[in-house]
Symmetry: C5
Subunit: 338 residues, 5 copies
């Protein structure tokens, strides 16, 4: 294995490999170091990490004769996943997602693939500080007898796409947790913030789904079309990726249904709490308003009110009040309010 | 019939049968006992019960030259039902359901089918303690003149799929009961738990439907495609299964509509109960607040209040109070609140 | 016309007719009486009334070499409407509906058709006490110069399907009445039962629609497919039936929309009634609580309360109370609560 | 121009025209006057005004050898718009709408077209008292050098369909006004009647849309199918009609969205009004209930209540009451209730 | 470059260009100045600014032999975006949008394109006071070595369509701001106006989407159909426009979902506020109604009420009232109302 590491934080990484030959790795920041990209008998993978340096991207693309529209799509991210065949190369855009634990939402990053004869170029939107979703593929490339080294460009492309799609399952799990938390919050302590959080989650799932949906066509295009440079073996693997995408979409559909349910449950919770509040008010008012009327009656200052002179008038009134209260309580009990 | 039972709780069961020949049954835990799997002139069915022992599954699959992706799908369950043709075999995934009476929900189990020439291998996810959905097929295999013994692999495959689909009708019935119970609860004693239970039910139906939906394509693929090893006779039976799947989906659609209706009824019930509570409060307050004002009036301590000196002032006030109360009651009666 | 009536309440009725020949009618309970079913040059229609007698159905089917799956479908009702071509015959399932005036819902009955060369067999699920939806067809068969007698099997099949579909319009009218009653009830006296009835209606319409929907495919299959035994003339008539089915589905769609609207109106009615109740409470409380405070003020027993000694203190207070009440009433009037 | 007007309020109107020939117009009530309908070299348009006289319709149709099913469709109105090719003619059904200003809803009328070689027959459901949607076409027929006279049957058919579709735009405008009125009513004075009117409007739009929807297929059929009697020039015009139909459907879709929005706004208005009512109640109760308690306290008749003897006790209490009231008002102000 | 500016505010602008030739620009108000439009070897673009002058439009169209239906579509705006091939030219309608900052809604303007051999005519609905969406294209035409000058008619057409579609992104951003403002308003100060504004926004998005939706078909038609005058290079660029349209539709879908969410959040906010109001009422009433009853009790004027004579009766009662109040407060605290 030849590793030419020209820079501690390289922007450009080239991997060249062929069955039974040494793996060549070049890590550099200068485009000059990597040309000519192709070497006869080798498969070349150039990864460009971070597209902030527009000039660099444009240099590489112009060197390789890439159509200006493609360069534009690489630089202006937020593209939908898509596959576009050009006469000399194939252009692929995918969206990579990573979970941001603080905001409990996903960060989106665009990865563009240019697939030409024996050459694959990938452009990643952000410069990765630590780990990268492609690290696994890099590690497997080191293995001289691994399937990846022995197979050709098609299998490398599959491995990278698969790495991107596998990350989606992690995102799905995170959203599963968010939904469970919302369900918990809904039942124990629903407030106005809850409905907001529910809708934020709903919107994020919607965005996520929109990025996954066109991916299906991309993978189907690769695995079905008469693309002669994709072997039947790799096609089986791509069919497997297509299957994963379907499962992700299925799960997203279920999540959406669950989030819709959360809204209904929330509204029902709020209504029920209103009912509880109103019941307390009604019980207290209904108990004391009538008996207060009685006390008011005998608080009047008429000269001629015979009951006031009765020896046990007060006790009779106390009794009447007690009976009224008991009747009310019995009524509430019967209506199951207590 | 030759039965070689090598273990009381076997993991591997092999059935070999052909018209006018003895049925061979092997029950074992050692893969070695079952190879070579195929015997000329016989149809072989190998059932692997429980896939916890990954090594065992991998051993069998490598022996039979099964693609690694298929092995992965067998071991990592929660696949969508699907059918995938490979060059030397056909791979099928179905989901089996059983009703868990305690949680009133379904348990899902994946069954994977590998169909090769004269050989069928089935992998069941769980080890069945007692009964198995395939027991009926096993019993019918015992009958030397039964249709199953006389027909070939296609009819065996149909019988197993049919056994899985027939179980779905049981699940449907159970969900029908759950919905009826929820309707009952909704009308007699709706609370916050009710809306939760309604949504749990809705979600489960959604999951269930998602497992049944792709099954349609699987069965249609088998019954329509130019699969030469499926006879016209078996095709008719598969069409019947396809019909069952449609009926299940129809019923699920209706259940979903019913559950959606439950939400509306629940919200209406809660609103109506709030109305009832408010009516009681309003009646009591409206009856006694005005008359309390009157008593309050004559409870004032002004020196010069001629009414207080009237001989029958007290009785006049009592009369006025009575008239006010009666007017109020008449008003409530007219508005149909009483 | 030859009528051989072997039994007052026959289960089996055979009609044999051909242009310019006498109509033969056999009514019997014994299958033996009707075989051989076919007679050269005649079109034969066998109607089996009630499938409770399973043995009878199985006897007839085995005599005519009907596939076991078809027999199963005939006996296990609740099939979706469908059309299934077999090598020697065509199998058709329709659902017949009749209105049950007591429960205000429909009763469903399955009619199975087996169409073979010059022979039509119909199986009706229930034994009809009085009138039968096919009576009209029977009457028209009596007419020796009627179109039905002169045309062949295709026109007979059309007439029977048409008779079934025409009944659907009656059902539609009944549901129209139910919806109108619900609208009336909603506006005059909505209660919890109303929302329940609305949802029952909604569910029934859903069921009904599900039975009509696949019928479209059945009729389209008959009228479009290269079915050589259906003449162009009959095809025009079948196209007409297809048109009727579309109109029924259209109307059902509108009914559904109307029922959905009923739910909204109901919830709005309940909310408005709550508003009414609350307004009464608020008006009464707002009128009397402040003035009660004033009376309470002068009911205090302080030794030094100069107003109490005023000659016209009482009248001043009465005036203040009057002014407060009038202000409140003016406020309510301005807010349009009165 | 030859006009043979045999009756002041004719039922049957025949127009015969050809380029460079005189226009022949016959207005009559007797079918005998119009036969033979066709004249060599002329295009003939027969309009039948009102189909109440069934016998007349049947006479005409039998004379022209029209299929009984078509006659039935002409007489039993409420058909969906449709196009049906028969061997010797083409049958078309359209729905015409006119706005009823009193009920603010549309009146539907069926127009049936029979298009044969050089002959067009139209059946209008109602006898028009005053103006007719076809009057414009009639006027343009009078113009000897107009496009309509010079072109053939295809252009006449287009002109009539166009006249029908153009009326739809008037209806759309009317519904636009109804929706605006409902929006106004919703915001100023929503009551239970409002939600009813909203749903009536929604239902009517639904009915209207259902009549327009199939029209699209009709026009597409005419403009695309290899109908050799429609010239390319007329086809362009039919494409234009098809475009109008699409615009009508688009607008209907928007209206529907707007009406759905009205329901949401209505429910929100009702809720907000409830909130307003409750706020008034709460403010009044919260202001006076606590201070009434204070007055009640000093209205007690205990012998030993030192405060009662205080010289300025009364004024202290008045001060406390004032402070409590001010605190409450400040609290309401802070919560933005005032 | 030849610029013939015949008028300070020209209605008609002609651009004629060809590779390696001078750009000719004519600005005039008289149609006579621009004919003959075509010059051999040049590509001609005629822009008509404002269609108020119907006569002018009709003159130009008749000169160029444009079909009357097209003229009608140009003059009667509010067409759906569409593409219509005629025998000698292609007719295109697009909708241009500009943001009206005052009403916070979009203004729609129709642009019609007539594409003939080497000639492009554009009709803009309004006379632009200041800037025009086509200004960028005009500027690029000035550049003698720019791609636009060197390429032909196809690239000019693409540039104009692209200019229109790029404006849509500005509109999208504006709507994004409106939705954010509504979200803010919803959470801080929701009132009846809020729900109205939400629905106005929803309706506008719906209208906007309806104008964008058919645009997809237009662009797809141009880029896919065997239109021989569009070069492969231009086709790639049109594919890019098609991609933009898809992204706009995706974003609109998300906006719609967000607006739907706003309605739910609004209703939840209103309910929660009602809950808050009710809680305050209930707390105050529940605290003071019972203790007011106690004071009422000892305000009665019975002669024989021993407690009144107790030395510490008053203090006992004060204590009881304090205990009741504390109990109530504890209860509210436990229910998390305080």
């Amino acid at each position: 294995m030849t590793v030419v590491s020209l820079n501690p934080s390289p922007l450009l990484t080239v991997y060249r490999f062929a069955p039974e030959k040494d793996l060549q790795v070049i890590e550099t920041q200068a485009p000059a170091d990597i040309f000519p990209l192709q070497q006869p008998g080798f498969v070349t993978w150039l990864n460009v990490d971070g597209i902030e340096n527009q000039e660099l991207v444009e240099t590489i693309c112009s060197e390789l004769d890439i159509h200006p529209l493609v360069v534009e799509d690489i630089l202006h991210t937020r593209q939908r996943p898509k596959i576009e065949p050009y006469s000399t190369f194939l252009f692929l855009v995918l969206n990579m997602f990573s979970w941001d634990a603080d905001s409990r939402s996903v960060d989106q990053e665009q990865v563009s693939f240019i697939v030409a004869k024996d050459t694959l170029i990938t452009f990643q939107e952000d410069i990765k500080a630590g780990k990268d979703v492609f690290d696994g593929v890099r590690a497997r490339l080191q293995n001289p007898v691994g399937h990846l080294r022995l197979a050709g460009l098609d299998f490398l492309l599959y491995s990278l796409i698969d790495a991107v799609v596998d990350e989606y399952f992690t995102i799905l799990d995170k959203y599963g947790e968010v939904i469970e938390d919302l369900e918990e919050e809904n039942l124990t302590n629903p407030d106005t913030g809850t409905i907001e959080r529910i809708h934020t989650c709903r919107r994020q799932l919607f965005w996520f789904r929109k990025s996954v949906w066109p991916l299906r066509d991309v993978v189907v295009w690769l695995s079905r079309e008469d693309v002669d440079w994709i072997s039947d073996a790799a096609r089986l693997y791509l069919r497997d990726v297509s299957d994963h995408v379907l499962r992700i979409l299925d799960t997203l559909e279920t999540y959406r249904e669950m989030v819709m349910g959360l809204v209904d449950v929330h509204l029902s919770m709020v209504s029920n709490r209103l009912n509880d509040v109103m019941k307390v008010l009604t019980i207290i008012s209904t108990l004391f308003i009538p008996v207060s009327f009685i006390t008011g009656l005998y608080g009047m200052n008429f000269v001629n009110m015979p009951e006031l002179q009765w020896r046990y008038g007060y006790y009779v009134v106390l009794g009447v009040i007690g009976v009224v209260l008991l009747l009310m309580l019995w009524y509430f009990r019967r209506r199951k309010w207590l």
